[in-house]
Amino acid sequence: MGALARVGAEAGAAWRSFVRRRTAVFFTFFFPVILIVIFGALVRTDPTGAGLFTEPAGYYVPGYLAVVVLFTPLSRVGSTVARQREGNRFEKLATTPLTRAEWLAAHTLVNVAIIGIASALLLLVIALITDAQFALSAWLAPLIALGVALFCGVGAILGAVADSQDGVIAASNTIALPMLFLAETFVTPDLLPSYALPLVDLLPLTYFSRGVRAVTYYGSSPATDAAILAALALVGFAVGAYAIPRTD
């Protein structure tokens, strides 16, 4: 009960802090929407052509979701860690009963809520402004939550390693952009050079893409990908929690 109360207190403070930063709220939801507008409505897919975007529109639904599942927790948790360190908040928290895992769990919960809302908005916008055909499934919730947990952990590591908020943003972009395009999101494996294919299987985002595509596009079971994603999320969360600064 004590741990739950502490996580609740931390999550409540983090949620209030987020929703009161109107610019952050606006761009958190605007960024993925503008991506859909650009790629889904303006560029459009071309199933009869060659090169990028030759798959049916529904194929790219995991890519759009991956944008928020990957970028938002990486940059949010990373910059939160850097900001809290600069304000000596971890020095304060280190002397309270709140553990590092509880802190990360609280911020993961907040990110799951934010990205859950963003994902629902994305699916709605996709359905409204593109001709994508996709299925909805209860599997989407755990897949998104696991992806968020994984990248919250990675964000915590970045925040602990980088020496400033600027450093976190630069590092998260450096990691996320290549991963986004190599992890079977917008670029199909057959378009990649053969030497890059082993790398695809090593990227955690790949299992999110495959899992989401299994339920939204192919109508198959995502259990294997979800299990791998869960294992990676566990590791990411544990390492991220350990990385959160408690001492100088």
Binding site: A9, R16, N88, R89, K92, A94
Partner: protein, 327 residues
């Protein structure tokens, strides 16, 4: 029983010794003030005790345990330059930190105790600097700690706010809490602390009650006469005196002796524009121990020829001749 113990603690950052063999014990219920120049090692020492930095050598204990093992619910900590979430109100901040403990004081009680009841529903970023620091103090008090670490708790607070914080510290100690605070305000240390420790270059160079430290290191009471006359002007008056930079300073002058000096000056026909009587205080101890004595008076020339330019804070303890003591 000692609430805080440090035994030969060392901490280095690169080639710099932040703590160089610091040993200290603070008894339960004691208020201990740690003072010293910027970079002396005060914050590092607090962090060593709270477990947020690990000493390179030596041992520390809090309430008989290592910092890593001590029950956090018994500690209250206000870090230096602490900046909580800016878009929470003072009430929400106290609520938030209270939520991290199984047993916490009531939010309204905490806010009232630090004088924040009237501004409780204002976002932290919109509070004045003093209100922000008082809110932070409230955050450190939510769990009614047995040991309280306050790292420069009154920095940036106006005099009324400082007094509120100081009264809180005294009240907490009266209730049995142990308080370790760092400060640059010598008057604050003198007002609230049972004992004061002076840190310089990572070494604890003096520890004692304010009165004992002043007795040992503060020098003598003195009467400063604004005049061009030299020390011989005092004639038969039995005081050590020196003349420097437009001042005649007589040492060892008690308030009752001021008239003796005045008569001696009158007898010698010496004109003067002002008489200021001062008794030594912790600031004199600080300046003596840190070797910065001549920084106190603007324009004063140190023996080495260096001119002090910074008017020292807290020099308002001097009293015009005839007032009979401190203001």
């Amino acid at each position: 029983m000692d609430a805080l113990v440090a035994d030969d603690v060392e901490k280095r950052y690169g080639g710099t010794a932040a703590l160089d063999g610091v040993s200290l014990s603070v008894a339960e219920g004691e208020v201990f003030a740690l003072v010293g120049p910027n970079g002396a090692g005060k914050t590092t020492f607090v962090r060593a005790l709270t477990g947020t930095t690990r000493p390179d050598a030596g041992e520390v204990s809090v309430l008989g345990e290592s910092p890593a093992a001590v029950d956090e619910s018994r500690l209250g900590v206000l870090p230096q330059s602490f900046s909580p979430p800016a878009r929470l109100t003072a009430r929400e901040l106290v609520d938030y930190y209270a939520g991290l403990y199984d047993d916490a004081r009531g939010t309204d009680d905490v806010l009232a105790s630090v004088g924040m009841a009237d501004a409780a529903d204002t976002w932290y970023e919109n509070l004045s600097g003093g209100q922000q620091r008082r809110t932070c103090l409230g955050v450190a008090l939510v769990n009614d700690p047995d040991v309280l670490f306050l790292d420069e708790p009154t920095t940036g607070i106006d005099p009324a706010g400082r007094r509120t914080v100081q009264e809180q510290v005294v009240d907490l100690a009266a209730g049995g809490a142990t308080v370790l605070l760092t400060t640059h305000d010598m008057a604050e240390a003198e007002r609230v602390a049972d004992r004061v420790g002076f840190l310089a270059d990572g070494e604890l160079i003096a520890v004692g009650s304010p009165a004992a430290l002043v007795r040992e290191h503060g020098g003598e009471r003195r009467l400063v006469v604004e005049t061009d006359a030299d020390a011989d002007a005092l004639g038969d008056a039995d005081f050590a005196a020196e003349s420097r930079d437009g001042e005649l300073v007589a040492y060892g002058v008690d308030p009752a002796d001021i008239g003796v000096v005045v008569r001696a000056l009158d007898d010698a026909g010496v004109a003067y524009s002002e008489l200021v009587w001062t008794q030594p205080d912790l600031e004199d101890v600080y300046l003596e121990l840190t070797g910065d004595r001549y920084a106190r008076r603007p324009g004063a020339v140190a023996p080495g020829g260096e001119v002090g330019t910074e008017p020292a804070a807290g020099t308002d303890r001097g009293a015009e001749a005839g007032t009979g003591g401190d203001r």
